[in-house]
């Protein structure tokens, strides 16, 4: 042992004993008289969860969240030409095409219509990034999903207002961002649930989420829920925009490519324990999120022995359709290296697939809608690492 390490060790021990002594004398000690009520709350300074930005997106810190709601400022961000800045006073939503009365609506107009609100997830269909290998966090892996309570007017209400013609089977949704992002949406398939949204978690939409108005299509790939929504054009066929042809299409093993693949299939992730956590032998509550774009989560199964045996996790009520569902399972870790896995089963009977099954069904160049079972390796030292071998390209 060197002199330096002896010193460091001694200092370390001293620090520990001081902090324990402090803790003992300050247990339950009252706070000094605090400030008076103010206008806007803030987080505890010790709690500073962050999105992790890259040039094209920033991801929700799934491992830092409790329950199922994503704070609006931690909702993932993905846009195609930077953050759009829209003046709410001059904002108009134009609805035209195959309609009796082409109309435009101010933000105030939209707020006057009957309102609906709904808790649901929104997920990018490109949500699955494991380039950091075993040092992949839950946030890096699947942070392109978030959940909010969205509020707005039903699309159906607006379409009745403008008098959608019977021939109208598709509509173009166009953003007011610099890229004027466009998607064609099949009308009948979304009419029951589509919301023209201006509210998120009790307040106005955040700019990153499309302020002042976005389309919100529960259960469908996030790209289709066009933000900064400025125009809806009804038509009798899809427009074949760049986003639904060269992007957001799914190459298949037989040389064809799946188009308009909107629905987000069921998936799950254990958010704790996850990399870079370190766990100790003994009782551990395994916690995670599961969701399906096709309805409710029916069951989540967890394996703590690399997939040999599976047990049903507890689902936190209420289990809502097309919504993040919290699952939990208490487990006693014996200190032996293992891998813990989760798989979601939704109300259609769909079982979240293993990576080889996805590859076999779609071929090697599949690039969106990747929802394989994933796991976390736990080493003898308690270090948690992402189970990269299970999903290696």
């Amino acid at each position: 042992m060197t002199r330096r390490s002896v010193l460091t060790g001694a200092l370390g021990a001293a620090a520990v004993s001081v902090s324990r002594a402090t803790a003992q004398t300050t247990v339950g000690a009252p706070s000094p008289q605090g400030r008076l009520p103010n206008e806007l709350g803030g987080r505890a300074p010790q709690e500073q969860p962050r999105r992790v930005p890259i040039p094209t997106s920033s991801r929700t810190p799934l491992q830092d969240l409790h329950g199922t709601v994503t704070p609006a400022d931690l909702h993932f961000e993905r846009h195609h030409s930077g953050l759009a800045v829209i003046d709410p006073a001059s904002y108009r939503l134009v609805v035209h095409g195959l309609v009796e009365r082409p109309m435009m609506f101010t933000l105030e107009d939209l707020k006057r219509f009957p309102q609906v609100s709904r808790l649901c997830f929104l997920e990018c269909s490109g949500n699955f990034t494991r380039t950091a290998g075993e040092k992949t966090t839950a946030q890096a892996l699947l942070g392109l999903t978030s959940q909010s309570e969205w509020a707005g007017v039903r699309l159906a209400t607006l379409l009745r207002e403008v008098g959608a013609r019977p021939q109208a089977t598709w509509f173009l949704a166009e953003g007011q961002d610099a890229a004027q992002m466009t998607r064609s949406i099949p009308l009948k398939e979304v009419l029951d649930e589509a919301i023209v949204a201006y509210g998120q978690n009790g307040e106005a939409l955040r700019p990153e989420q499309g302020y002042p108005v976005r389309l919100l299509l529960p259960g469908l790939e996030g790209n289709a829920s066009v933000k900064w929504l400025r125009r809806l054009e009804l038509a009798d066929q899809p427009f074949m925009t760049r986003e639904e042809t060269s992007r957001y299409t799914d190459p298949l093993a037989d040389g064809t490519s799946r188009q308009f693949s909107f629905a987000m299939d069921a998936r799950s992730i254990v958010t704790s324990p996850s990399y870079p956590q370190r766990v100790r032998p003994g009782w551990i509550e395994i916690r995670g999120l599961a969701w399906s774009g096709r309805g409710r989560i029916e069951r989540v199964e967890v394996s703590t022995d690399r997939g040999a045996r599976w047990r049903a996790a507890e689902l936190q009520a209420p289990v809502l359709p097309k919504a993040h569902t919290r699952f939990r399972l208490v487990w006693q870790w014996d200190g032996q290296p293992t891998e813990i896995l989760s798989r979601a089963i939704d109300e259609t009977g769909y079982v979240q697939p293993e990576w080889p099954a996805l590859l076999a069904a779609r071929g090697r160049r599949t690039r969106y809608h990747l929802n394989p079972v994933t796991g976390w390796m736990i080493g003898a030292d308690g270090q948690v690492l992402f189970g990269i071998e299970r999903v290696k390209a």
């Binding site: 035209h96 609506f105 006057r112 610099a178 074949m240 042809t245 799946r258 299939d265 009977g349």
Partner: protein, 195 residues
Amino acid sequence: MTLANAGRYVLAVMALSALVGAQTPDRFGFGEPVPREVIVALDTDVRPDGTGLPPGQGTAQDGAAVYATQCAACHGAKGEGGAADRLVGPDPTGTPPFGPAYEQWRGGRPDVAFTIGNYWPFATTVFDYVRRAMPPSAPGTLSANDTYAVVAWLLQQNGVIGDDALMNGETLPKVVMPARKMFVPDDRRGGRTVR
């Protein structure tokens, strides 16, 4: 159901309808008609049948200069990619972008990119997207002629049209893209089958 019961049922349904009618009118009367000039200004989308294409025209030869000034910095001098996506190649007739034929062609070599030539199903989409979103710093600044010309250059470089082919509102929708027949509807339906 007796006649009296049926009568009561009909009355109940009528009462319910009246109630619903009172709560949700056919129209609320909010909003205002869109002035025609607003629609004209915003409705720039181009459909596969050519609807929405503006007057104007251009050839690959015209487009080379437009590409060099407006696009090459990010997409590479020959569309080979750089800071932004690869746009050109490989020869779409000899190189399918995926599937068994692709794997056979590729052998042990690295993947090739999805490009306009091997993956975009409609030439009209290239026009729509260039006009809508390119260049990223100043979308909408290319003239109609320059847009036709740069689209012509991209198609010609990908071997889809000839060197002298004139692209305009008549000819562009008639261009048959190599990837046109690849696209199929989504067949995922939930349930037990992995697709």
